[in-house]
Amino acid sequence: MNSAALQPAQSAHEPSKDVHAEMRGVTRVYGGDGKTGGVQALAATDLRLRRGEFYSVIGPSGCGKSTLLDVLAGLSRPTTGEVLFEGKSIDGRVPEGTGVVFQEDASFPWLTVADNIAFGLRRAGIDAAEIQRRLDYALKLMGLADFAKSYPSQLSGGMRQRVCIARTLVMQPRIILLDEPFGALDAQTRLIMGDELLKVWRETGATVVLITHALDEAAMLSDRIGIMSARPGKIIEEIKTQWPRDRDSRIAANPAFGEITARLWSVLRDESLKAIHQGNKSSAGLA
């Protein structure tokens, strides 16, 4: 905890104009009517995201990470509490300026790569020259230039996910929310994709929230990492990495990387154990 790289967040002391998005006492209960029954996915969760930071959320599986992202994106309403984006409360609608990348492949199989990426731009009625400009930029940035006319079925899983990232990024979102976007990819591809995400983050200046269950991914990519408890999830600890803005996956060779990973694991291990025991309890109940 005393290591310079591992300072806890001091969010309470930040001036509020730096706060880009915020969750205040957000809970989320699935199903059930009113107070009884249902699954509580999120316990009262507070989160303050600074403008332009790279924030990762890590937690055991089933702890409510996707729920947190859904609520933050405006894809689902909090049961109690409030979500603010750029100072304004969002009410179960995705605010303008928010981009979301899902864990599942969300590319449109009926459109070419280029048409996939331009989808949102065309809907927004942006003029053709500007669409072309942003499209060319995104194709190049994501290494898809040679595949503009291909269909997603002709691409690998990693490339399809890049199509989805490109489709999000051309909209120039001010905040990009990613829910385990590399979950389905192999280890090497994940590292490369992480580097590409860092590049996007640097070039766009957007605030990035990355949901992940991979310790190394969180440790090497983030400015700050929020660790979630077992379900009902909430952020129980935040760790600051203090990496330089210009970084990539090779930072894993830095001794601080090991420290951060170890620190993450020491908190996460307990929560993962709890999550596993939760699983045992519910299966015993079913038997």
Binding site: L75, V94, V100, A106, P109, W110, L111, R123, Y151, S153
Partner: protein, 249 residues
């Protein structure tokens, strides 16, 4: 062509050849069935004479109109029902048992409702085709990946835009099934309606030939319908396969 394709061709060819032989050797009387080659020749002459052109054009028009109405209407109704789960649960049994109804038992009712003539024929073609399309749309919409529906939300798409731009293309493999069924049902509905409540069109012409013991013309027209339906289906299958291959389904 694949091995299976050859076998299929052999089965169809063998069947036609067997009938040809049975007819030519007189084991089947020409008053019952005329030889397939004879059907083809008579159809050729009929088409050359231009006698049947008006009926053919009318029936094709009726089928086309009822098909367009069935497919677009069935999609719109299906999409609307899908958005209203409670309504859907209420009417599900009716949809499921729709084609179990012996429709043409109610033909006097149709005549009272739609009168006689083209409007009535198209209405019946539509009633026949539309429910297949509704069912296919519901089926397809049930299988749209949730992540694509959420993507529509991220792009601030309203219900109509999401239905047309995301759900429709996403459900296309299922919608194709609906279209194929609708083609078949529209042909059945239109031709059957022409039998009983029209004074023109292929259905009428077949019934007229039958009542006047004009076997040659009757079989020529039937042969025409078989060829026509086969061509329409083959074109549609080819288009479907090409599209599905490109989309990797």
């Amino acid at each position: 062509m694949s091995r299976v394709g050859w076998i299929r061709l052999l089965v169809v060819g063998g069947f036609i050849l067997a009938i040809e032989l049975l007819c030519r050797t007189g084991m089947i009387s020409p008053r019952v069935l005329i030889a397939p080659s004879d059907m083809a020749i008579r159809l050729y002459r009929l088409l050359l004479s231009g006698q049947a052109n008006a009926d053919i054009i009318e029936t094709l028009g009726n089928v086309a109109i009822s098909l367009v109405l069935s497919v677009s209407g069935g999609f719109a109704i299906g999409a609307a029902i899908h958005a209203l789960p409670r309504l859907r649960r209420a009417i599900d049994p009716f949809l499921a048992s729709y084609y179990a109804l012996p429709f043409f038992a109610f033909y006097p009712l149709f005549i009272v409702m739609f009168g006689l003539g083209r409007g009535a024929v198209v209405a019946i073609g539509f009633l026949f085709g539309v429910v297949a399309m509704i069912i296919a749309t519901l089926n397809g919409f049930d299988r749209i990946p949730r992540v694509l529906v959420r993507t529509a939300e991220v792009y601030h798409m309203g219900p109509v835009a999401a239905a047309l731009r995301i759900k429709l293309p996403s459900a296309v493999p299922y919608l194709f099934t609906g279209v194929k069924l609708a083609i078949a049902y529209c042909f059945i509905g239109v031709i059957a309606a022409e039998f009983i409540m029209a004074s023109s069109g292929l259905g009428y012409a077949i019934a007229y030939a039958f009542n006047n013991f004009d076997n040659g013309k009757m079989y020529a027209l039937m042969f025409f319908i078989i060829v026509l339906v086969t061509i329409v289906n083959a074109l549609f299958y080819t288009y479907e396969r090409r599209l599905m291959r490109r989309w990797g389904r």
